[in-house]
């Protein structure tokens, strides 16, 4: 009898630990009441050592925002407008009062992005390109935070082990690093991270915007409740 009880406990623990709990659904109250139609992507803060990181992320951030149903201001033209007005540093741009941004761009909301990691590192066993970003969507009418999120993507996620033991892995790591720096792997990985971060189809992504056929529907995470 006692054995059966222990067995039941073990089985129970094994099963419940196998369940991956998704983070709780984001509170979209502010997002819904603000109902933004257009999003201004500000040049991201860059905490990586790669100078190209903000440009790569800005280029890739447009598609998931547009596909979620929002108008996205042309990122390069926006960047040029800031530069022409003497704002060349992302920190300074993030400090511009929201009234001023609203006045010039006529945008409903602005996306403040922070790049935490970007680039390829060679760490003996595996060479890995990582992009790690967080972002905050702020209403340019009220200053309210409408949404916040973070996402990470890595080239190591999909790569198969080539086999051949330790030597094989070392060779693979070195070859991968060459491929990844030459072909600008960060750009592709930034695309995956951006989609993961923002897509209204993802868990705790944005709500669907007015240009989406799913506008007004509950968020993906709210449906899973």
């Amino acid at each position: 009898m006692r054995h059966i009880q222990i067995a039941v406990i073990i089985v129970f623990v094994v099963f419940t630990s196998a369940c991956v709990n998704l983070p709780p659904a984001y509170d979209y109250t502010n997002f819904r009441s603000a109902d933004p139609h257009s999003i201004l992507v500000l040049p991201p803060l860059n905490n990586s050592t790669e100078v190209i990181a903000p440009y790569s992320v800005m280029s890739q951030i447009v598609a998931p925002l547009a596909e979620s149903g929002f108008y996205v201001f042309p990122v390069a033209l926006v960047d040029q407008t800031f530069k022409n007005n003497g704002l060349t540093v992302a920190n300074d741009i993030h400090a511009v009062p929201i009234e001023k941004l609203h006045e010039i761009f006529g945008a409903d909301a602005a996306l403040y992005i922070d790049i935490k990691e970007y680039g390829t590192s060679y760490v003996v066993i595996s060479s890995d390109t990582v992009v790690n970003v967080s972002a905050t969507l702020v209403s340019l009418k009220t200053g309210d935070i409408l949404w916040q999120g973070a996402a990470r993507a890595s080239s190591a996620e999909n790569r198969g082990n080539s086999g051949g033991g330790l030597i094989g892995m070392l060779v693979e790591a070195a070859v991968n690093q060459i491929i990844e720096t030459v072909s600008d792997a960060g750009f592709g990985i930034a695309g995956i991270a951006s989609t993961r971060l923002l897509s209204a189809e993802g868990h705790n992504g944005l709500l669907h915007g007015p240009r989406s056929a799913k506008y007004g529907q509950p968020a993906t995470s709210e449906k899973q409740k």
Binding site: H37, S38, I52, Y55, S56, M58, S59, Q60, V62, A63, A66, E67, G69, Y71, V72, F73, P74, V75, A76, L77, D79, Q80, T81, I104, F105, G106, A107, F187, G191, E201, R211, S212, A213
Partner: protein
């Protein structure tokens, strides 16, 4: 009975594979923007060609171009001294996406006053 099972599971599996078709056509838009930012390997005229290609391909596929394509192309035309095609593309962006009108008008007025 067995046929029913097969049909049931096939539907179940295929249902799981459903991916959403993108609303807009992007083509090499992201790459063109990235090239503009990198300001090295690919020249402005080549970037213009890329974007004109994107617009052409979108038309061929009967899909709307992504927001910003015409505005970005307009900017490239302005930067290379072709103000009339710049204006044409800004106007198309405004027609397709009225959300952009306030900003693009602001830029045009600024340009005009700079010239005077």
């Amino acid at each position: 009975m067995r046929v029913l099972f097969v049909v049931f599971f096939t539907t179940l599996f295929l249902g799981g594979c459903k991916t959403t078709e993108p609303s807009y056509y992007y083509g090499s838009y992201q790459t063109a923007v990235y090239s503009y930012f990198k300001a090295s390997e690919v020249g402005a005229s080549q970037q213009i060609e890329m974007l004109e290609g994107v617009i052409e391909q979108a038309r061929g596929k009967g899909k709307p171009v992504a927001p910003g394509v015409h505005a970005h192309l307009g900017m490239l035309y302005f930067n290379t001294g072709n103000a009339s095609l710049g204006q044409v593309n800004f106007d198309i962006e405004k027609t397709l996406f009225p959300e952009s009108a306030a900003y693009l008008d602001f830029l045009m007025n600024k340009n005009a006053s700079d010239k005077i």
